[in-house]
C-alpha cells in the first residue's frame, strides 16, 4: 500500500520528465500579445501627454523646457507594464514590445527620453507638435537654432532673429535638477 503509493508518486514525476528550462542559456521568447517594455516612436509622438496623465504608476513625466521644447521622460523602474499608455495613445506611437529582460545596474538603460519640438498655438499660447517631420527641416526650425546639442542644452526662449545674448544663455543654461541623472 505504502510502497505502491510511493511508486505512483515517482511515476508522476518521471512521466513529466525535466520541465525546468536552461533559461539564460536558452532564450524563451515571449508569446504574442505579451506586455513588455513600452517603446516610444519619436516620429509618431505628438506630445499630447495622454500617456503621462493616464499612467497608473505615474512613471511617465512631461516637462515643458521652453515654449518649443517638451520633454517626455519614461522612467521604467516603477513601470507595472500594464500597457495603458499604449492603449490610449491616439497616434499609436507606443508599442508594448516583447522585451522583458530589463534588469540593469544603470537606470539610464531603461529610461527613455524624447525631446519634442512643439509649435505655439496662436490662440491659447499652449504648444502643439511641430508638423515638420523632416529632421533637417527641424534643425532649421524656430527654437532649435541656438541649442547646444553636445552639452544637451537647450535655450529657454526663441527669437525670430539670431541674438548673441540668447546663445550665451544657451551655453550657460543648466537643466532643471529633476531631469538630470
Amino acid at each position: 500500500m505504502w510502497l505502491w503509493n510511493k511508486i505512483k508518486q515517482l511515476a508522476i514525476s518521471f512521466k513529466a520528465g525535466v520541465v525546468t528550462l536552461r533559461y539564460p542559456f536558452e532564450p524563451r521568447p515571449a508569446p504574442e500579445g505579451f506586455r513588455g517594455q513600452p517603446l516610444w516612436d519619436h516620429a509618431k509622438c505628438i506630445g499630447c501627454a495622454g500617456c503621462a496623465s493616464h499612467c497608473p504608476a505615474r512613471t511617465i513625466f512631461l516637462r515643458d523646457i521652453c515654449q518649443e521644447l517638451r520633454i517626455l521622460l519614461y522612467d521604467s523602474s516603477r513601470c507595472t507594464y500594464c500597457g495603458r499608455c499604449a492603449d490610449l495613445c491616439p497616434e499609436k506611437a507606443i508599442t508594448m514590445s516583447d522585451r522583458f529582460e530589463l534588469a540593469t545596474d544603470n537606470r539610464q538603460d531603461i529610461t527613455q527620453t524624447i525631446e519634442l519640438f512643439m509649435m505655439t498655438c496662436q490662440r491659447c499660447g499652449r504648444c502643439y507638435d511641430l508638423e515638420i517631420k523632416n529632421y533637417i527641416d527641424r534643425l532649421s526650425a524656430l527654437g532649435y537654432r541656438y541649442d547646444c546639442l553636445e552639452a544637451r542644452k537647450v535655450i529657454r526662449r526663441s527669437t525670430a532673429e539670431f541674438s548673441p545674448d540668447e546663445l550665451e544663455k544657451t551655453v550657460t543654461y543648466e537643466r532643471p535638477g529633476r531631469l538630470e541623472k
Binding site: W2, V19, A30, E32, F34, C82
Partner: protein, 563 residues
C-alpha cells in the same frame, strides 16, 4: 416578503427615530443610515438574525460637515443580501460603540480606524496599535483628509512594539518578522512549552503601501484597477474585478455580457493558479518538496496560459471599469480548453498520489482544528471555513458577474483541520475547470461584435455607495467604494480574506505542536500584503544610514543579550 424588506420593517420598528434611511439602490444590497446611538442595537439585532459580520469602514466626511463616518457591513448568505450600517460621529468627538463584545472579529477593523482616523471605541478591549508602525507619531491620523499622502514623519529611534510577556511556564519562539515559513513579513510571537504551543501574539501590518490613501488622493477611477491588482501577487484580478464591480454598482453601469464571462475566466484561472500554488506551499511546509515542485509544475502551465491570454504571467491588466481590455477569441478559447484538459489530467494523478499518502495524513489530520462554532464566531471565510462545515461561497450566495448562470458545486468538509482545507482546495480545482469550460461555451455563442467595455457617459456621480464581493481563492474579498468628486473615489476600502482568517490563527494554533506551526498558518494561505494594504508610505522612514559591519554586529548582539 424579501429579507431586505423584512429587515427594513424590523429596523423601523426597533429603532424608530434613530433610523435615518434604508435604501436598496440595486438588488442584493441594503444601505442603512443610523444615528450613532442605535449602532449596537442594530448590529446585535442583525447578528441575532443570522448575519455574518464582514468588515468596518471608517472615513473622513468632515468636508461635508458630517464628521467621521463608520460603516459596518454584514452578509446574509442564505438571502443573497449585504447590509451596510452607516453612522456618523461629529469631528470633535469621534466616539462609537465597539462591536467586539458580541463580534470578536470586528476588533481589527476598529483598531484599524483607531490608528488611521483617530476614532474612539467604547468597550474595545485591545487598544494596542494594529496598523501604524511603532515609530509613527501620536496624533497624526493618516487617513484624515488634511494629512497628505506622502507625509513622512521623522523616524523615531528605540521604539518597539511591546509584545506581551510569555505566560509562566512557557518560552517565546519568535516566528517573524521574517521567517522561512511565512514568505511575507509578519510576526507571531509563539509561546511554547517544550514543543507544545500554548498561545501566540500577532503583530503584522509591516508592509503598508498606502494604496487606499493613494486612491483617494492621487489616482483616478480607471487608474485604480491597475493599482488594485498589485494589492496581491496571486489574486490580482480578484481585487481589480471587485473594485470595478463596486464602482459599477455605485454608478449604475451594466457591463457587456462578453466582459462578464471574460472576467469569470480570469477569476477562475486565478483560483486554479492559487490552489495549485497553495498545494505546493503546503507540501513544502510539511517538508514534502516533491509535492511542492509537482504542484508548481502544473501551475506553471496556467501561468503560461495567462501570459498568452492577458500578456502577463499573472492575470494582470485585464480589468477596467465598464468591462475588460482583452478578448478571448476562438483560438485562445481552444488554447484554454487544451491546457485545462492537461491540468485536469495531471491534477487527478497528483490528487490520487497525495490524498492516499498515509504520511501526509499523519501531518495534516487533526492539526489546526477549529470547531464550527469558533469558525462562525471569528467570521472565517473561504476554504478554511468550508473545511469546517460552513457552506459559504460568495459565488453561490451572492452571485456576481454571471455566476448564477453556470453550474458548480461548493465542496465542503467537516473535519475542521488542515486535512479538510487540503481536500476542499483540491476539489475546487475541478470546479474551477468546470466553470471555465462553461464560460467558454457561452463566450463562443455570444456575438463577436459586442464591445468589450462600455463607454462611460459623463462623470460618475459623487456620494454613492458600492459594495462588492468576489470569492477569491482564499475566501471572500470585499470592496467598498464611496464615489467622490475629482474623478476619484472618496473612500475605497479593501478587505482581503486573510483579514478575518488571520484573526483566528491564534485559536487554531492552541495546543498544537511547534512543528505544525508552518502548516497551520499556511492553511489559511495568509496573504499579508493583501491584509496590510492600507496606510501611508513606508514603515521605517527615510534617512538611510550606512552601518559598518562592526556596528551591525554590535547592534544584533546587544538585541540578543537584552532578551
Amino acid at each position: 416578503m424579501s429579507r431586505a424588506e423584512k429587515l427594513r420593517r424590523w429596523l423601523e420598528k426597533e429603532l424608530g427615530g434613530n433610523l435615518i434611511s434604508a435604501e436598496t439602490p440595486f438588488p442584493g444590497r441594503l444601505f442603512i443610515d443610523l444615528k450613532r446611538e442605535a449602532l449596537t442595537a442594530a448590529a446585535s439585532g442583525l447578528m441575532n438574525q443570522g448575519a455574518r459580520y464582514q468588515m468596518g469602514i471608517g472615513y473622513d466626511a468632515r468636508k461635508d460637515g458630517r464628521g467621521f463616518g463608520l460603516v459596518h457591513t454584514f452578509a446574509f448568505d442564505r438571502d443573497s443580501l449585504l447590509v451596510a450600517l452607516r453612522t456618523f460621529a461629529p469631528g470633535d468627538n469621534p466616539e462609537f460603540d465597539s462591536l467586539t463584545p458580541f463580534i470578536p472579529g470586528a476588533g481589527w477593523s476598529e483598531r484599524e480606524y483607531q490608528d488611521l482616523l483617530g476614532l474612539k471605541f467604547r468597550n474595545l478591549s485591545d487598544r494596542k496599535r494594529l496598523v501604524l508602525s511603532d515609530d509613527w507619531p501620536e496624533g497624526i491620523y493618516p487617513l484624515r483628509r488634511e494629512v497628505p499622502h506622502d507625509l513622512m514623519p521623522p523616524a523615531a529611534e528605540e521604539v518597539a512594539f511591546r509584545l506581551e510577556e510569555a505566560p509562566p511556564g512557557t518560552s517565546i519562539i519568535p516566528f517573524g518578522p521574517f521567517h522561512a515559513s511565512l514568505h511575507e513579513p509578519a510576526h507571531f510571537s509563539v509561546y511554547v512549552d517544550g514543543e507544545d504551543i500554548k498561545g501566540c501574539e500577532y503583530r503584522g501590518f509591516m508592509t503598508h503601501r498606502g494604496i487606499e490613501k493613494l486612491a483617494q488622493t492621487e489616482l483616478t477611477y480607471n487608474d485604480v484597477p491597475f493599482v488594485a491588482e498589485r494589492i496581491c501577487g496571486i489574486c490580482g484580478s480578484v481585487h481589480a474585478v471587485n473594485y470595478a464591480q463596486a464602482v459599477e454598482a455605485a454608478a449604475g453601469i451594466s457591463i457587456p455580457r462578453r466582459a462578464e464571462f471574460i472576467r469569470m475566466v480570469a477569476l477562475e484561472l486565478e483560483r486554479l493558479h492559487s490552489h495549485l500554488l497553495w498545494l505546493g506551499v503546503a507540501g513544502h511546509l510539511i517538508g514534502f518538496d516533491t509535492v511542492f515542485m509537482q504542484a508548481w509544475r502544473i501551475r506553471e502551465k496556467i501561468m503560461w496560459l495567462a501570459e498568452r491570454l492577458t500578456g502577463n504571467r499573472k492575470t494582470y491588466g485585464l480589468v477596467i471599469i465598464g468591462g475588460v481590455r482583452r478578448d478571448i477569441n476562438r483560438e485562445s478559447s481552444r488554447d484554454i480548453r487544451s491546457t485545462l484538459e492537461e491540468v485536469d489530467r495531471e491534477m487527478q494523478a497528483l490528487e490520487k498520489a497525495i490524498l492516499k499518502d498515509r504520511t501526509i495524513h499523519r501531518r495534516t489530520r487533526g492539526v489546526g482544528y477549529l470547531s464550527k462554532e469558533e469558525t462562525v464566531k471569528w467570521n472565517l471565510v473561504g476554504p478554511v471555513a468550508r473545511a469546517r462545515g460552513l457552506k459559504i461561497d460568495a459565488r453561490r450566495d451572492h452571485p456576481y458577474a454571471a455566476y448564477d448562470e453556470v453550474e458548480f458545486e461548493v465542496p465542503v468538509a467537516d473535519s475542521g483541520d488542515v486535512w479538510g482545507t487540503l481536500v476542499v482546495r483540491v476539489k475546487e480545482v475541478y470546479e474551477a475547470i468546470k466553470i471555465i469550460n462553461q464560460c467558454l461555451d457561452r463566450l463562443e455563442k455570444l456575438s463577436k461584435n459586442e464591445p468589450l467595455a462600455v463607454e462611460l457617459e459623463g462623470p460618475i456621480p459623487a456620494g454613492r455607495q458600492g459594495l462588492s464581493l468576489v470569492e477569491a481563492p482564499r475566501g471572500e474579498a470585499v470592496h467598498f467604494v464611496l464615489t467622490g468628486n475629482e474623478n476619484r473615489p472618496e473612500r475605497w476600502r479593501v478587505r482581503a480574506p486573510t483579514y478575518p482568517n488571520l484573526q483566528a490563527v491564534p485559536s487554531m494554533l492552541l495546543n498544537n505542536k511547534l512543528a505544525d506551526f508552518p502548516i497551520i498558518v499556511g492553511q489559511i494561505d495568509p496573504c499579508i500584503s493583501c491584509t496590510d494594504r492600507v496606510l501611508v508610505v513606508e514603515n521605517r522612514s527615510g534617512k538611510a544610514r550606512l552601518l559598518s559591519r562592526q556596528e551591525l554586529e554590535n547592534i544584533s548582539r546587544a538585541k540578543r543579550s537584552g532578551r
